[in-house]
């Protein structure tokens, strides 16, 4: 073997032509073995069979907005008139028709709050105040009864504002609660640890549906007669309890990943428990917990559709109700596709944002 002495005299060369470019990519990714080549061909065949009829139904044979249900049925393509006809009902439920600007503004407020909270530059104390003010504004808009707004009972609420309120308020209350539960589960104080573990394991061991049933059916039995806690509020509390238990476990995973040396360094500098957690441990643990947390956020957002079983009309509920109109019976594909897209936009945005946040937090401070 000859000694290879690098003198810096060997010029840079281009890699061999067959290892770069689209042809190489195709070969490496789609045809790198006989069974992958076979799979690729089968999938291309399947797509070729499925996509044209789908596009045909979605676009080419679709009925323009304004056609009657009878024409739609006769033609066979997608009937987007159904969506345009039922749009306000699906989005706002049974909220009084001429007052529906109120749930619309509610949606805007909630989305605006979420969007400003996404920017790390705004992670300041005033953001908490903005949330309190925003939630208060939402309550005033939805209930009314003040500032000349007519009173609207919350049994009339429905659609997207209900879905957003259940999930956004639910998550923003459950998140801090879950941090406390995760810390409690790792506490050195046995009483706090036992309470946290019991709570988390009890709630995680029960299906969300049964928790909702308990909140709506069983819970009132324990209340003295005459005392009535609102059904929506009970569902909201059930969601918070459920989400908190799941997120606590995601955060515990992050806490366990922090090296012991970080706790020791915080202690050795004289920081007390809460200072150490707030400044040293939690910022790192939460950053690690982002993927499982967002996973919980997304599934929780979609799980709000389960409130339909206790008689609340969230987005899925109003879509189902819209289908029960005799004149528009049978257009379930359009209805579910439409709300499917709405759910997807929200969930995909959460996923994208979490990826960005992960990148931002990772930048610079890798060990």
């Amino acid at each position: 073997m000859t000694e290879n002495v690098h003198t810096g005299s060997i010029p840079d060369e281009r890699p061999p032509a067959n290892t770069v470019g689209p042809i190489a990519w195709l070969r490496n990714n789609l045809f790198n073995s006989w069974y992958n080549a076979l799979l690729t061909i089968l999938i291309i065949y399947g797509l070729a069979r499925a996509i044209p009829p789908l596009l045909d139904w979605l676009i080419f044979h679709a009925n323009a907005i304004g056609t009657t249900p009878q024409e739609c049925r006769a033609n066979g393509g997608a009937c987007w008139t159904f969506v345009s006809e039922k749009l306000r009902f699906i989005l706002f439920g049974t909220f009084p028709y001429e007052q529906q600007w109120r749930p619309l503004v509610t949606i805007a407020i909630i989305i605006a709050l979420v969007l400003i909270s996404c920017d790390r530059r705004f992670w300041k104390p005033w953001l908490g105040l903005a949330w309190v003010a925003g939630i208060a504004a939402v309550a005033i808009l939805m209930w009314g009864g003040v500032f000349g707004l007519s009173y609207v009972e919350n049994t009339l609420w429905g659609g997207l504002p209900l879905t957003l309120m259940l999930s956004v308020i639910g998550l923003s209350v459950a998140f801090p609660a879950s941090i406390l539960l995760a810390l409690g589960r790792r506490s050195q104080l046995p009483a706090i640890r036992v309470v946290s573990v019991t709570y988390i394991e009890l709630i995680r061991g029960v299906p969300l549906i049964s928790l909702l049933f308990m909140a709506s059916v069983m819970f009132p039995l324990f209340l003295p007669t005459g005392v009535n806690i609102d059904k929506l509020l009970r569902a909201q509390i059930a969601f918070i309890m459920f989400a908190a238990a799941y997120m606590a476990e995601a955060i515990r995973g992050g806490l366990q990943a922090i090296p012991k040396g970080q706790y020791e360094a915080a202690d050795a500098l004289g920081l007390n428990y809460w200072q150490g957690m707030r400044k040293i441990i939690l910022p790192q643990a939460l950053a690690i917990s982002i993927p499982p947390l967002v996973n919980t956020f997304i599934s929780f957002f979609k799980d709000t559709s389960l409130v339909i079983i206790i008689g609340l009309y969230d987005l899925l509920g109003t879509a189902k109700a819209a289908l029960s109109d005799p004149a528009w019976r049978g257009f379930y594909r359009e209805a579910y596709l439409f709300i499917g897209v709405i759910y997807w936009v929200f969930c995909f945005s959460m996923s994208k944002y979490s990826q960005k946040l992960e990148r931002d937090l990772r930048r610079g401070h890798r060990r």
């Binding site: 090296p259 040396g261 970080q262 020791e264 360094a265 202690d267 050795a268 500098l269 004289g270 920081l271 007390n272 200072q275 400044k279 040293i280 910022p283 790192q284 950053a287 937090l361 610079g364 401070h365 890798r366 060990r367």
Partner: protein, 260 residues
């Protein structure tokens, strides 16, 4: 100041009163007796090097001095405060006792400057500007001020350890504990950290240092403590310790680390 001068400034008698006192300290990990009958008194301004074979309890001993480890028997009094289960007292002691770890334990999500200002701001309640000024002073002193806005992950091991020293100094500690501060470093980085430590010693900082750097012990320490199997076997001035060790265990240890 050169190293030779550092040797000449060494005190022959303790000055300025007692900072740490351990009386009959014992510690167990479960059934395992890690510290046995430790009696130790450290005077203000003393520079002490603790050495011994691995597993001899030397790290455990200095970790007991700021209660990162709990002792089960005996008394430890630091800066006039006895270390017991009392959390308030433990925090008070930790404020006055700086610690430098083998693996630096810098906070990776904070910049170098933020690492240094965190405790002064939150524990000493200093205004941010004042804390930053203080931090820059100590970062200059460990010769790393130009890296103040980088994250620890962007620095070499030696640089990180110097930041860790500056972070401790920002609390103006009365005592500094060093737990094998150069053991995790690449050989070419050991000197830059030892130089900083020598500088601290010259300025009269009370130091307890667990280390295998015998050169550092010879030139800087007022006293060398040798531990084996959880006991203090021998303690003496570096001169006596290295030239005429008393016990056989010390002789064996010295022959093992010095002859190769």
């Amino acid at each position: 100041m050169s190293m030779a001068e550092a040797v000449s400034t060494k005190r022959t008698f303790p000055a300025g009163g007692e900072v740490i006192r351990c009386q009959d300290v014992h510690k167990w990990y479960g059934e395992f007796h890690v510290l046995r009958n430790i009696n130790l008194s450290v005077q203000k301004g003393e520079r002490i090097v603790i050495c011994g074979p691995s597993g001899s309890g030397k790290s455990t001993l200095i970790r007991c001095l700021n209660r990162l480890e709990e002792h089960q028997k005996g008394n430890i009094i630091v800066d006039g405060i006895e270390l017991t289960g009392n959390l308030k007292n433990i925090e008070l002691v930790r404020r006055e006792v700086g610690m430098v770890f083998q693996h630096f334990n810098l906070f990776p999500h904070l910049t170098v400057l933020e690492n240094c200002t965190l405790a002064p701001i939150w524990v000493r309640k200093k205004p941010k500007a004042e804390a930053e000024e203080l931090a820059m002073k100590y970062l200059k002193r460990v010769r790393i001020a130009e890296q103040a806005h980088k994250y620890p992950g962007q620095l070499s091991g030696g640089q990180q350890q110097r930041v860790a020293i500056a972070r401790s100094l920002c609390m103006n500690p009365k005592v500094m504990l060093f737990d094998e501060p150069t053991s995790a470093l690449d050989p070419e980085m050991v000197k830059e950290v030892l130089d900083v430590m020598i500088g601290l010693a010259e300025d009269g900082m009370t130091m307890l240092c667990v280390t295998h750097e015998m050169g550092f012990a010879k030139s800087v320490a007022d006293r060398v403590i040798f531990m084996d199997r959880g006991e203090i076997v021998e303690q003496n001035t570096p001169n006596e310790f290295f030239n005429s060790p008393q016990s056989d265990r010390t002789k064996l240890f010295l022959s093992q680390i010095l002859n190769h």
